[in-house]
Assembly symmetry: C2
Homo-oligomer: 421 residues x 2
């Protein structure tokens, strides 16, 4: 069998599984999830040796120690993944929700019912915990998954997927509900992305290169998790202490994530007061500052660099911050809508009418007033879990959790009505 034929066969099996999954009750799905968590912990004697193969290969291939660490599993990390599954079991089931219900003048009753999407393809890189996290969220929402992980974690991924599927089956999981593509050549991404007869959705989780490739190839909907080039705008009417605190938090609390601050935008009327205080705090935390002319002049040039044009479009994911002074709120909105990535942007101001204008006019998934951009997150929103932060505008925007892994259908009940009547 060619790789393409193998993947097509997985697609057909996944579709069959998805039809069975869609009629499981919440209780049935939750028992399956608990059995999967149990099985994952019980399978540590399979998973950890498999993981050792990946670690050995990674070290041989000269991966950085940070990358090797992201690959590494141990009993504690496995337990954390299993706890994540139990957490998903405890979340409310989105499937079966009546989203709307109404009657038409001719007497037909229309119900909009939340249902699973069907079959979801997930393409991801390195970290093996994604195998479980993604499959489990999709499953809770009634979907079958076909996973395609990176080559670095292939042994771990295979062992995890096998433990989840077999543990789940012992509690009634339909066969082939969670399938991992056992090969990691690039061809398999293409076949998966073209298989729109079976796949309802594809979610690439990883760097821009991976997403870009999936976007070019995919025939089915893609939900993209692109860069977060996030901004804090410090308005002339900001509380300076609050502005410093939010800037420091958004930049330094966890710099390597998509909702961390990348560009600080400052109103010219507050720049003289705000910039020295903010820079002092940022210097203390080792943040490299890349400044436009005005902020450079105000800072006195100490420990800062001039920004280049490319800095306004940079997602550093590191302790680096670009800084720009603008004339007014309009200038801030223009800068953010032009250079941002429509992810998460914040205004700090005590003036409610200015904040309202910012909230309305910034075209981003989440717009903040007087809070850190780090709250752009499914957990912080109270969703209990998240599959990512969508930078798309269709279907799911911003923090994406169980509800965003569902579709709907209309049920129309009548008593013999015809159109010709």
């Amino acid at each position: 069998m060619t790789i393409k034929e193998q993947i097509l066969e997985m697609g057909a099996s996944a579709l069959k599984a998805s039809r069975q999954l869609s009629s499981l009750s919440t209780e049935e799905k939750n028992s399956i999830l608990l059995a999967m968590a149990e099985s994952l912990e019980q399978s540590s004697s399979d998973i950890l040796p498999a993981n050792k193969l990946d670690i050995a290969a990674a070290e041989k291939n000269g991966l950085t120690s940070a990358m090797v660490d992201r690959l590494r599993l141990d009993e504690k990390r496995l337990a954390a993944i299993a706890d994540g599954i139990r957490q998903v079991a405890s979340l409310p089931d989105p499937v079966g929700e009546v989203m709307a219900k109404w009657q038409r003048p001719n007497g037909i009753d229309i119900t909009q019912l939340r249902v699973p999407i069907g079959v979801i393809g997930i393409i991801f890189e390195s970290r093996p915990n994604v195998t479980s996290d993604a499959a489990v969220l999709c499953l809770k929402a009634g979907n079958a998954t076909i996973l395609r992980g990176g080559s670095e974690a292939i042994h771990s991924n295979r062992a995890i997927a096998a433990a989840l599927q077999s543990g789940g089956e012992s509690a009634g999981l339909p066969p082939n509900s969670i399938q991992l593509i056992p090969i990691t050549d690039r061809e398999s991404v293409q076949h998966l992305a073209e298989m729109d007869q079976y796949l309802d959705l594809i979610i690439p989780r990883g760097g821009a290169g991976l997403i870009e490739k999936v976007v070019s190839l995919a025939r089915m909907p893609v939900i993209k998790h692109y860069d977060g080039i996030c901004h804090v705008f410090v308005d002339s009417e900001a509380d300076i202490e609050m502005a410093v605190s939010i800037t420091v938090d958004a930049k330094t609390q966890k710099p390597g994530v998509c909702n961390a601050l990348e560009t600080l935008v400052v109103h010219q009327d507050i720049a003289q007061d705000f910039i020295p205080r903010a820079f002092a705090e940022l210097h203390k935390r080792g943040v490299e500052l890349r400044c436009d002319e005005q902020s450079l002049a105000i800072s006195g040039g100490d420990g800062v660099k001039p920004a280049e044009e490319s800095d306004w479009r940079a997602e550093y994911l590191d302790l680096i911050l670009s800084v720009r002074v603008v004339n007014d709120l309009t200038g801030a909105i223009s800068h953010i809508n032009e250079f941002g990535s429509q992810h998460s942007d914040c205004i700090v101001t005590q003036n409610p009418s200015r904040s309202e204008r910012f909230l309305q006019e910034i075209d981003s998934a989440t717009v903040f007033w007087n809070t850190s951009t780090r709250f752009s997150d499914g957990e912080e929103f109270g969703f209990g879990a998240e599959i990512g932060i969508s930078t798309d505008k269709l279907h799911a925007r911003g923090p994406m959790a169980l509800r965003e892994l569902t579709s709907y259908k209309y049920l129309v009940r009548g008593t013999g009505q015809t159109k010709a009547q």
Copy 2:
């Protein structure tokens, strides 16, 4: 300028227009719509001569008289298009709706707000009224549009788009809110479909070939309006009179549309009673019947043909119906989920538990119990207007109207909260 450069320039202008459109009030948008309707009627001296050029070309190129008729405009048809615009003005504005609002334990307030999508590309064939219908619905939902119509209607489309844009501008429509690609070569479809830096969504309206092409090329979300291979299943516990009436309505009331019946599925226990009565009514209305072995035997073979395998996947859009007898409800569900197009399917039965199973297990956008599939329609659902029937599962499924032309964003209001706290 190359064609690609021209289209990129249109994209940039549309993005600018969409930012302005998103902050128009409902009243402003409605005044603009009324001015557009007025302008369309006032511009008949531009539009009708332009339409004559298209008609002349169509006749010269040997288009069928049905196709020529679909192209033709006159004062009455223009008035109907203008009335359609006034109708859209009278519909509720989906933009600005608070979809959800909650507070987190740390005191941040989260609001999910309905907003426009942004820039929508619409690629369509022949009928010039689509230029207005599509642009106007998108506009009411606060979106800018780039339209690419077929070559057959290019003169009419240009004149209509110009009348809409200029009429709208007199009432405050931002420049370039409605743009028509003035050329109809195939290259322009490709450039449009690849322009994901400006286009948030692309909607192909037309035949399967057009949709297929857009799906292969598009980098942004596509909402597809594929075939409707719709079914009526007559259960053993059906009211026979109702089943005949629904079958006849779904097949013959308007056979050329996507929600018309294409395959009749009959429970074996009712086939002897139902088939002769149904076939008699269908024969009267000139319906050609393509039957499986069992239905052929019951019909006695009079005026019917044997079905071929391809008939189960055919969207005839004509007075042709394929007929199949199944053993039971399970057989009916299997047939429909395998051969259908997940569009609109119906069960006729007096048994509520059977209908519930059918409603749950049929994986289609709209599933009917004891009503004609012809009700799968935005007007019939009470949406006031529709841009089409989506056969996708993401973002919009089934009848698609103003609400489905929107996205959302989250507004998060705080008092200085940071993640590190």
